[in-house]
Symmetry: C2
Subunit: 353 residues, 2 copies
């Protein structure tokens, strides 16, 4: 009996001691955190039917190299103490200037054989945002989105009006020919042929043709966290191959294609835009973090794997939260993606895990 | 001592009996509910600096009569067992056809003296949605939004492409002259004069001129619940007086200007659109209901009076939840609004309470 009482006493002492020691460890961490605000960056180059069997080693190497270049371009800015907004622009511009991605230079063709570009950006610090849709002569749509955010009273401009604004702001304009790439033109021709043979006038079938699907989707995006704890996200796209009627997808829609809020996370989406608009996908992930106290990973998984999938939508997101945690989530076979985390670790992915 | 025990016993019996009786009352209510799915409808005709001192009795009477007509047009459909989508269209079309509201016929002028119209609609049953921006020849933009939702693969179309689609679908097209109203042209002239004298090239000052503000804002919208428990919401607008660069506001943005989900509520926004986009206002209210279990009233109040106000935005929303509860919330001096609730009670408001 005495022995038992002794053990109970010892157990009480041990159990009382443990919680006392833990806060002291936690305190140390807290003390060093202000000096060591984590930084991080994650990018995507589009989600879709990306399968290893359809890929040559050369093509895969080209994608990996460009994704790495884009991630480094953004991360370097963060490492040097730069702003997350600048990092987002730098990473996206590397991809806009590459014909590999459906944004900027590599934009897909509309039904009429034009390249209509969309982009958006959001600043997590003040929830300011800029977006543009349907421009045909602006070399870097993401930089126009930023100019709209910072130098206009508006959030979203479109078409010729947006181009007038871009010219007034001295942004680089190019001849629409700049966006011509043979691969994208072939994809358009195939999409039109397929429509004609399938008598599919509203273009539904093209969504289910994997040969076209790859180039129908594909958007580039970036989310970043800088050393001041500011989050930012941006998205840039050429839209869908064979799109008509000046269709606007999710890329320029704040809350669907792009969202950033220092209180939660920064997100960029890619995929079948119509479903991302209906699901308000980017903001929904942030809302789950804020209102349901989900981790970024759990929130992203629920929204993409459960809600988006139930709606019939396909695609994915990349995101980073205010603590520097990075998540990539998609329900397509693959998504071009890369990240450099708070420890400087580079991670590149193309296919599903 | 015995008496005390007797009282305690009596108290116990009473307190045991009360909870037993309550469920039996509740049960009766539950039994009748399935047969009596509530219906309801709420509309707005724009929020802004609407003050009694600036209003003539004639003008006020005209607004009240048109709001009542619009609410009745929608409610009649619901009463006859029709769909919430049809009710939303009917109510909005009454306002689109009136020069009193900044939508359809009464649309304000852009800087270039054009009328560019935007609209969106969402079906709470399947989260399907349709939106259009920047059309100049479509008589009823809300009906085009519905055609996009139901008869295209897309959610959002814009400009000339959207007009081509409208024509293909046989929607009523009008000469752009149809949208000319003298009042709106005067508002544009005043806005331009004001800019010139204030050397305010980006038009910021015009936001703070109450004489212009009235006609800068103003959008019409409707949210409805039908006897099948289906929610729907729609919004239609002429945008902002003196707007430039093909600016797109919140009205055609799903999640910002319009949102409907049978799981929570149906909402239409009106106000300074840029802030509604940045705040993802309409969806945010639904998210608070779903994730934080807020009532519609509490969620709307938090989003409009706290979050939107903190961001610096002005405007309001009208909404109805799946139980037929109706809420109108705004942080402007006034908002044109009307509702008919589940008991058939008509309520019309213009100024703040």
């Amino acid at each position: 009996m005495k022995t038992t009482r002794f053990f109970v006493l010892m157990l009480l002492i041990i159990s009382c001691k443990t919680p006392k020691e833990e806060p002291s460890v936690a305190k140390n961490t807290t003390e060093t955190t202000p000096d060591k605000q984590p930084i991080g960056l994650v990018i995507h180059g589009g989600a879709g039917t990306i399968l290893k069997k359809n890929m040559t080693p050369e093509k895969e190497a080209a994608y990996r190299a460009k994704l790495e270049e884009a991630a480094h371009a953004g991360y370097e800015i963060l490492e040097n103490g730069g702003e997350s907004l600048d990092a987002v622009i730098a990473a996206i511009q590397v991809m806009e200037e590459s014909p590999l991605f459906n944004a900027g230079k590599g934009a897909v063709f509309t039904h009429e054989g034009k390249n209509e570009l969309d982009a958006s950006i959001m600043n997590g610090k003040d929830l300011n945002a800029g977006a543009v849709s349907g421009v045909t002569k602006v070399k870097s749509p993401i930089s126009l989105a930023r100019a709209i955010m910072e130098r206009s009273e508006h959030v979203m401009l479109s078409g010729m009006g947006a181009e007038t604004f871009a010219q007034e702001q001295g942004l680089e304009m190019v001849d629409p020919e700049y966006f011509y790439t043979e691969n994208r033109m072939k994809a358009l021709q195939r999409a039109i042929e397929r429509e004609e043979t399938a008598l599919d006038h509203d273009g539904q079938a093209a969504f289910y043709d994997p040969m076209i699907k790859d180039s129908k989707y594909g958007t580039v995006g970036c989310a970043a966290l800088d050393k001041n704890g500011n989050l930012a996200a941006g998205t840039s796209t050429g839209g869908m191959t064979n799109k008509r009627y000046n269709r606007i997808g999710d890329a320029p829609i704040i809350g669907a294609g792009t969202y950033a809020n220092n209180a939660s996370c920064a997100i960029s989406s890619t995929g079948w835009g119509e479903f991302f608009i209906r699901g308000v996908v980017a903001y929904d992930i942030a809302a789950k973090m804020e209102y349901q106290e989900r981790s970024l990973k759990a929130a992203a998984r629920e929204v993409i794997q459960e809600k988006l999938t139930a709606l019939g939508g396909t695609g994915g997101i990349i995101a980073i939260d205010r603590d520097g945690n990075i998540t990539t989530e998609f329900n397509t076979p693959g998504m071009y993606r890369a990240s450099i985390d708070k420890d400087g670790k580079l991670d590149i992915g193309i296919y599903g895990e």
